[in-house]
């Protein structure tokens, strides 16, 4: 029982990170129809900038805040230089463009920082808590709480504020949104900034547990993408469920079956879900245009 509990905790922690990355995918996908494979690099920059600012002698909160702010800027620049000019390109072209962007961002990180593995201290120490016979790192609670807070904040932002509603409107119908006076360009910019911030926060939260280096982006992006598709591309609730589910499947496979095939289990489940529910668990609301 304690063992199962242990697997559930670690699965939920990792799953929360996947959920945040999937949420980042969702925000950009909804505003622009682009799946941004550079999403994992946002997580990497969140962690790496914090590490280097902290090592330079800044307080941890300041290091984290500047990491999120700088990553936001990176997201905006990415939109301006790579996504906006490619408006209307095919799915394959967009995949290549964002993967190209991820290669560029990783390369820059290797030049600006280094290729080593880094971490910074956990927010409230490394003494594990005992819960029902299982141990939980305090940082795991930060990850779970942080993810919950971001989801709640995003929900309020999207449904209660004018800016959030204009993002939703653009996601629903770009042209109609433009007609009622939504500045679509600003919405795009905003969603890239938002998505980058979410990714960076995920990076800040999880780095004390998983460590970071310049090359972690690809793996994280794949998992986040898989989680987003599992839940149903473009659906924030789907991102949450897909991410947590993916984390749990991985942890349980690693615990009970084989740790070397934990990534395989995730993809087998995704393939099965897609075979039987081609739109993901929360099938997208959008109607296919003929």
């Amino acid at each position: 029982m304690a063992e199962l509990l242990q697997f559930l905790f670690s699965g939920l922690t990792v799953g929360a990170v996947y959920a945040l990355v999937a949420l980042g995918f969702t925000v950009i996908y909804n505003a622009s129809g682009v799946v941004n494979f550079a999403q994992g690099e946002f997580v990497m920059y969140g962690g790496m900038i914090t590490v280097f600012t902290y090592d330079a002698g800044m307080p941890l909160w300041f290091a984290a805040a500047s990491a999120v702010a700088i990553t936001c800027l990176i997201g905006i620049v990415l939109n301006r230089l790579a996504i906006e000019p490619a408006r209307g390109a095919s799915v394959v072209s967009l995949i290549i463009i964002t993967i190209g962007a991820s290669i560029v961002l990783r390369g820059i990180a290797q030049i600006v920082f280094d290729k080593q593995i880094h971490r910074f201290p956990a927010f409230s120490g490394d003494t594990p808590l005992l819960v029902g016979g299982a141990t939980v790192l305090p940082q795991s609670l930060w990850v779970l709480g942080g993810a919950a807070a971001i989801f709640a904040a995003l929900y309020v932002f999207m449904t209660r504020t004018m800016t959030g509603k204009s993002i939703l409107a653009t996601a629903n119908n770009r042209l109609a949104a433009q007609l009622v006076g939504v500045n679509v360009k600003v919405v795009m910019l905003l969603s890239f900034a938002l998505s980058a911030a979410i990714g960076a926060i995920a990076g800040v939260l999880v780095t004390p547990i998983t460590l970071t280096n310049a090359g972690i982006g690809v793996g994280i992006a794949l998992k986040g993408f898989a989680a987003a598709v599992l839940g149903g591309m473009g659906n924030p609730a789907g991102a949450l469920v897909g991410g947590l589910l993916l984390g749990l499947i991985e942890a349980l496979t690693a615990g009970y079956l084989s740790s070397s095939y934990k990534d395989a289990a995730a993809f087998v489940v995704i393939l099965l879900v897609l075979f039987f529910m081609p739109g993901g668990l929360f099938a997208a609301r959008t109607v296919e245009r003929v």
């Binding site: 995949i95 990783r106 390369g107 030049i111 598709v229 897609l274």
Partner: protein, 319 residues
Amino acid sequence: MTRPGMKTATLIVLIVLIAAAPLVFSGTYHYRVATLVFINAIAVTGLVVLIGYAGQVSLGHAGFFGIGAYACAIGATHFGVPPLACIAIGAVLSGAIAYAVGRPILRLKGYYLAVATLGFGILVAMALTNEAQWTGGPDGMIVPSINPRGWFALAGLKVKTAVAWYWLAGTVMIVGAWIALNLKDSTSGRALRALHDSEIAARVAGVDVTGAKLQAFVISAVYASVAGSLFALFNQFITPDAADFLHSIELVTMTVLGGAGMVLGGIVGAALLTILPQALTVFQDYESVALGVIMIAVMIFLGRGLVPSLANALRRRPA
């Protein structure tokens, strides 16, 4: 694009290029890089059929490349099958797997298809990494060599191994290109291109959409597998990296960069992305940055790929 001279012209251009390239080569290294270009071009030609003709994405084609490569390594090492026969076994195996997974996968579209093929590729790479007793695990395994020099010697020609490989891979690439070019104008090829433009219109016109997609998927898998086999035999060493996600992306990028709709475009893309990293290593740390920037720039400014865009520009220029 379907002018009758196009096919012959493409083949002649390719043959002339292959025949003329050694004139500027100075040493084994150039022959080896060119051989790699041909091998990648074979896999990419398969993707031209899948992406360019049929309009379906696959982010897992390195999986088939890996199956072909390991068929040669495992078949020869563990079962004593002659390497050349292993190429065929790998191709049949890849085709069969593509047929089996293609049925459910190809019902998906766009990003869903992308993630499903991605998942498939990752599963193959993972199996190759973890089944160490067969594959040597992440460290890879040695592949028994074949030496095409002997065949040239039979014909009374004296060549170095690298040179022999150059002609062998070049010939296979030409054959592959010839098949793909013929396919384009065949009934099946027209069906594929019809569903590329509009699946519904194709269906209305009586095209068996599911069957046509599956056909393209199987064909492209066989191309990738043959390329993988040749790579393993040429390199005499293989690691699971050959099957991983990044290699899949590399293959798709080659295809789209040169121009997915044309066999020649795919080959140019393969040449570019094989040679460029070799050339960029002088910039060391900036290599990947430069590569990424080139990928983005070509996609933004030459949306249909290098070759079609350039061909268009030339055609539009007043004579």
